[in-house]
């Protein structure tokens, strides 16, 4: 394991210390594992708390700021945070309008965030939850509630954060987050594994000519292993599956996210994007807005995912809304 770290058990704390020092205008700490926006919340604004394990940078702390999240509860690498930081963040960002929790659909996160929500309720704070379930590879469509949240996190958080900024009610913020999630579908491939620092060994290793298909963002293996394909083959395979899943149809307008998992050069992401755009054009689906880069990563894993979100006028408006966070600024 080659990493620029000190004590593998301290990576998260040292990262947070660096992060808070690097972005003092964006964030402040309310718990050793809980960050919120620097500016105190506007009275009456719904708070958006996101979070989960570490190792997904820029998710989740990179998205704290105007137009996206109000606070983040931070776990160990690939491990949900405990209830306590989530509770402290909830208290810090609630202004009386309630707090929306949004995070990927993982057992550990659900168990811990639900405990936090119960504790928050005991303090009189209303909490609602929207789980992100965009990964079409992780369960069949008739079991959507079992699907994992992966890169689609970004779209759901962006939409929910933009809605909260309009001073909409908690029910309204929850409604658009659910709408965004319902319309968002992702699938990914990995070309290499990654290593949890304290574990010290790669979670899986792949042969020179292999790839994992349908993987999550915790370095876990995918749903199947296949032979390494060209960028066009990979893009075609996953984009066609995504289109068929919702299904997206001719005339639909979509947002596209080609997300790098950590070690894949942007050059490759654009080569994939090029093919995705071609396929969408063939289907008569038009691209409203595109994002290419690293939005939700899995440490130093190589690979990428493709995400489509079907848009209506409301989602377009919310997607276009400005944002100003350490890792995502949109004018």
């Amino acid at each position: 394991m080659k990493k620029l770290i000190n004590d593998p058990y301290k990576v998260v704390d040292e990262m947070l210390a660096g992060f808070v020092k690097a972005h003092p205008n964006y964030v402040r700490m309310v718990h050793p594992r809980g960050l919120v926006r620097k500016a105190p919340p506007k009275k009456g604004k719904v708070g958006l708390m996101i979070g989960g394990g570490s190792g997904h940078k820029p998710a989740f702390i990179g998205y704290i700021g105007e137009g996206v999240a109000d606070g983040v509860a931070v776990g160990n690498v690939f491990a949900s945070p405990p209830p306590e930081p989530a509770l402290e963040v909830t208290k810090a960002i609630d202004t009386g309008a309630g707090v929306l929790y949004s995070y990927g659909n993982y057992q550990g996160d659900i168990l811990n965030f639900n405990m936090a929500a119960e504790l928050a309720a005991m303090e009189g704070i209303r909490v609602e939850t929207v789980l992100v379930t965009d990964d079409i590879a992780s369960a069949p469509k008739d079991q959507m509630e079992k699907r994992r949240g992966i890169a689609g996190d970004f779209f759901v958080f962006k939409i929910a954060g933009a809605m909260a900024e309009t001073m909409a009610s908690l029910d309204e913020v929850k409604r658009v987050a659910e709408k965004a999630n319902f319309n968002t579908r992702t699938m990914g491939v990995a070309l290499s594994g990654c290593t949890v620092p304290a574990a010290g060994k790669p979670i899986f290793t792949l042969g020179e000519n292999e790839m994992e298909i349908g993987l999550g963002i915790h370095g876990e293996p995918g749903v199947r292993r296949g032979k390494l394909e060209t960028a066009d083959e990979v893009a075609t395979d996953i984009t066609e599956r995504i289109i068929a899943d919702l299904p997206f149809q001719s005339g639909d307008e979509v947002a596209v996210l080609v997300n790098g998992l950590g070690a894949t050069p942007y050059m490759e992401l654009y080569i994939v994007y090029r093919k995705v755009a071609e396929i969408l054009a063939d289907h008569g689906i038009s691209i409203y807005r595109s994002y290419v880069g690293e939005y939700v990563t899995s440490l130093e894993m190589a690979g990428c995912s493709v995400t489509l979100m079907r848009l209506d006028d409301e989602l377009k408006r919310l997607l276009d809304a400005p944002a100003d966070t350490p890792f995502f600024v949109q004018k």
Binding site: P82, G108, N112, V196, K201, P221, V223, R224
Partner: protein, 214 residues
């Protein structure tokens, strides 16, 4: 030996910490085969917190020890393990009440509460390929031994044997809950990480409280 004293429990909890730490890599490797490879890390972090908290307690009761363990796990681990094991120990503490020590019947109640806590929190059943597959048969064995009037040592022996069988029973299963459930058939043939950590905890507890006699 007919009762488990506070001191014995305290020692057992510290022994568990050592056992988990010694098996950290093994647990992470099991998890890597079908999860995210961090189970050993989560457990080590959690039990280090347990040991630290427990050492700082002054004259703790049985319930104090169990509750402190549960709280330490809930507040330091996160992941699936924090709430699952944490709830188990917190419920176990409640079941212990103000007992000064645990005889076989009390111990059985404590473990039943532990089991119910884990199962209510996680909603997993026997056969889902989780720690529940270790817990349920082990607690059943304890209960069976108690009902058939066996002594504490024999009961603990049956408990450990059943826990081990339960752990191994996860190998041919397909995961139904948690992170690994998304891997479907790829999970068949691998021993579950949580079932294994739970076996290590149960085994170490039994050996520690039984002294040389197990």
């Amino acid at each position: 030996m007919e009762k488990i004293t506070r001191d014995a429990l305290k020692k057992a909890l510290l022994d568990i910490t050592d056992e988990i730490e010694a098996n950290q890599d093994y647990l992470s490797e099991l998890d890597a085969a079908m999860g995210d490879g961090d189970h050993g890390v989560s457990m080590t972090l959690g039990w280090r917190a347990v040991a630290e908290k427990i050492k700082s307690l002054e004259d703790p009761t049985i319930a104090d020890l169990l509750k402190t363990t549960g709280m330490a796990l809930v507040s330091s681990v996160g992941a699936a393990m924090g709430p699952l094991y944490g709830t188990g120990f917190i419920r176990a503490a409640a079941a212990a009440g103000d007992a000064e020590s645990l005889n076989l019947s009390q111990l059985t109640k404590v473990f039943e509460a532990f089991r119910d806590g884990v199962m209510q929190r996680g909603n997993a059943q026997v056969g889902d390929k989780t720690m529940v597959d270790t817990i349920v048969p082990a607690v059943d064995a304890l209960k069976g031994a108690e009902e058939s009037g066996s002594d504490l040592i024999s009961a603990l022996r049956a408990f450990v044997v059943a826990a081990e069988e339960g752990m191994k029973s996860t190998i041919p299963l397909q995961s139904k809950v948690g992170r690994s459930s998304r891997l479907g058939e790829r999970t068949i043939g691998h021993q579950d990480a949580g079932a294994t950590s739970c076996y290590l905890i149960f085994k170490t507890f039994a050996r520690s409280v039984a002294g040389g006699s197990l």
